[in-house]
Amino acid sequence: MIPTEDILKTLEMVRIENLDVRAVTLGINLAGCADSDAGNMLRNLRTRIHAAAGNLVRTCEEVAGKYGIPIVNKRLAVSPVSFLFEGHGPEICLPTARVLDETAGEVGADLIGGYTALVHKGITKGERFLIESIPEVLSRTERVCASVNVASTKTGINMDAVRMMGEQIKAVAERTAARDGFGAAKLCVFANIAEDNPFMAGAFLGEGEPDTVINIGVSGPGVIKQALRRLLETGEDVDLGRIAEEIKRTSFRVTRVGELIGREVSRKLGVPFGVVDLSLAPTPRIGDSVGEILQTMGITSIGAPGSTAAVALLNDAVKKGGLFASSSVGGLSGAFLSVSEDHALSEAVRAGSLHLEKLEAMTSVCSVGLDMIAVPGNTDPSTLAALIADEMAIGVVNQKTTAVRLIPVPGKKPGDKVIFGGLFGETTVLEVRNVGASSRFIAFGGKIPAPLHSLKN
């Protein structure tokens, strides 16, 4: 029999500390849907997604009920849609995105990722059509999420693509101005994009993946914060090593939940199990915040000196605990600093303690990058591109995934409040300093060569 204390502890994690499975994401390869006839291709897409994902939501609800653990999001991640566009004209883009959107809705999925182009070394015709269609697609669909990989450690940074993405982010925000530029919240620009990431907006099914696959995103910021709070309340002599140890143990528990539920969903669907992504993903709920963990660790104003070191400790301990709990770990696996989705980070921005530059520094030691940050609507595309370039450089040089999800909110200036709603949360517009001062650098275009892999001293 399970000891009573253990049962009560697990119940507390679920009922009070917001333990859940953040995302069950079904990867679907769409390569077999390609057809030179647009009508055939769209029909193929619909049939393929229905066949692969028809039982996803029902199965997730069944498994969530059995274990009493909520599965917050059920999502689809398809292989890069740009591959389907080769041989077609740009007019194929919107109808394809609409079919993805409608079909995802029909099977009950919250979001569908994979409106993706991998252009870190060069851009094909299909990829160019996809990138150019992003503003229209994201403003006219609900569930479609787009991602573009513009850099990798092996190939360097494609600065032509970076410049294009600065323009596209600005255009998406302007097309969705009535919703405070919300369309840009469904667009991620990546370096070293993960092929098995279950989290949106960057989820897609990579080339090395099976035909279909289940990837799991766990959550747990609330559980870790409460574990640290209890540790500090014991009155014991606690140092940072002990804090790291407690985070590891808690991360183990959280990851085990993902592993158990993911494997059962995968078995019931007859789909291979992929990975558990160990990322600490916040929600706007109080008590479910990565920022609150940092505060519990003694960084009372997030963004203060020490914030980067605290994030580094947290990120590393989460991985160490999680790796022991799962036989298959992947995706992004780190602590998310998703500003609008994390009420403590959002509050730090409002209070003026957290600035863009400090966020950038913190992303050098955790996943996933400058995420869900509202910037002034008049920020010019080349400055947006320069922000992307900086974040890509961090990913490329440090051999890690980094991403940018900026929302230049039309008509809003620093200090203005923005509400996206739901899991996307709310935030305050952050100041971007030195706007326009990097336009010449961005205008050069071309490539930033891949970094050295030797002479590391």
Binding site: K9, G65, K66, G68, R256
Partner: protein
């Protein structure tokens, strides 16, 4: 001494203190008994124990009870045990049911009636009331022919009637979050293997 042909099931109740099991086992040893199975628990400072033991032909159940009560000042019950008493087997999936809320009479009665109606066996139960707050944890086996969803609906209705909150979760979630093994037991197709492993250990 003659062969141990009399087998009894014995319960012992006493206010908890150090040395109860030592005293009881000494008494049974003096009677020529051999312990075959034993389990104990303590609730609110009261110790209770159940024992299966074999005794020589001339030792009667009444003699065992009287000796225990006289020498040890325990409340005891002793019943004869058939040689091959079949132990009922409850096949199914292990679930943990937890209910909590304001204390009042009839909560356990209502919930357990819901189990009994569906043929759900209670394997273990723990219940406590602290400062007017009631909590009960049942370990149950839900038979394979019962849909856990139906059992959950029944329970939730019963819980509503007595004003408590109830959760029903497969036991594996507690194993996963608290121990190194992922499952509480081997999949059913491996039960033969499990039995062989157990025999090897024994």
């Amino acid at each position: 001494m003659s062969a141990r042909t009399n087998r009894y099931v014995i319960t012992v109740l006493a206010q908890d203190r150090v040395g109860i099991i030592a005293d009881v086992s000494e008494i049974l040893f003096q009677l020529g008994g051999n312990l075959e199975a034993l389990s104990q628990t303590v609730v609110w400072g009261w110790f209770t124990m159940i024992i299966c033991a074999a005794f020589p032909e001339e030792v009667t159940a009444a003699a065992v009870r009287e000796t225990l009560e006289k020498k040890g000042e325990f409340a005891a019950t002793v019943l004869p045990l058939a040689k091959t008493t079949p132990s009922p087997r409850f096949e199914g999936e292990p679930f943990v049911v937890t209910a909590f809320g304001e204390d009042k009479p009839g909560i356990v009665r209502k919930l357990t009636a819901s189990f009994a109606r569906r043929g759900i066996n209670i394997e273990d139960v723990w219940n406590e009331v602290q400062q007017g707050k009631f909590i009960v944890i049942f370990h149950v086996t839900i038979p394979d022919d019962i849909d856990p969803k139906d059992a959950r609906n029944d329970l939730e209705e019963a819980a509503r009637e007595v004003g408590v909150t109830v959760t029903m979760q497969h036991q594996d979630i507690f194993t996963a979050t608290n121990s190194l093994s992922l499952h509480t037991r081997l999949p059913r197709r491996n039960t033969k293997l499990a039995a062989e492993k157990r025999d090897t250990v024994l």
